[in-house]
Symmetry: C2
Subunit: 77 residues, 2 copies
């Protein structure tokens, strides 16, 4: 069983990585970009019997900094 966790910064939190990507894209001539937000995706191969609650606990304890980040869990069979 697989789980995919997508972690993104909460709105209003400054995203220097996104700003740097935005600036670089403009430098390469891509003018149609208004904003860029960068985040993480973590793919977990889980043993049988692992549940979404387990993944949620992993997110709260390690994978995401819940003060400044949102996380979304997608269970993939």
């Amino acid at each position: 069983m697989k789980a995919r966790v997508t972690i993104t910064l909460k709105n209003g939190v400054l995203d220097p990585q996104g700003k740097a990507i935005h600036h670089a894209l403009e430098g390469l001539g891509f003018s149609g970009v208004e904003d860029v937000r960068a985040g993480k995706v973590i793919e977990l191969d889980l043993a049988e019997g692992a549940s979404e609650d387990d993944v949620d606990a992993m997110c709260r304890k390690l994978l995401a900094n819940t003060v400044i980040e949102n996380y979304a869990i997608e269970m993939v069979d």
Copy 2:
């Protein structure tokens, strides 16, 4: 218009970040994890008229290292 680009390492490419996360999860007592792969997600706010081809060019020129990474583009209206 928004685009979401998910960038993951190709199979067979060593993922030290994933290994470190896996090791940390086990240290926290999460035993049901068999493998962990870490990647990036980049959300782009695009001006009207920007197309998926533009985003593909951004991926090939900057966002993804196509030698070791795969990228997937999702256009979100």
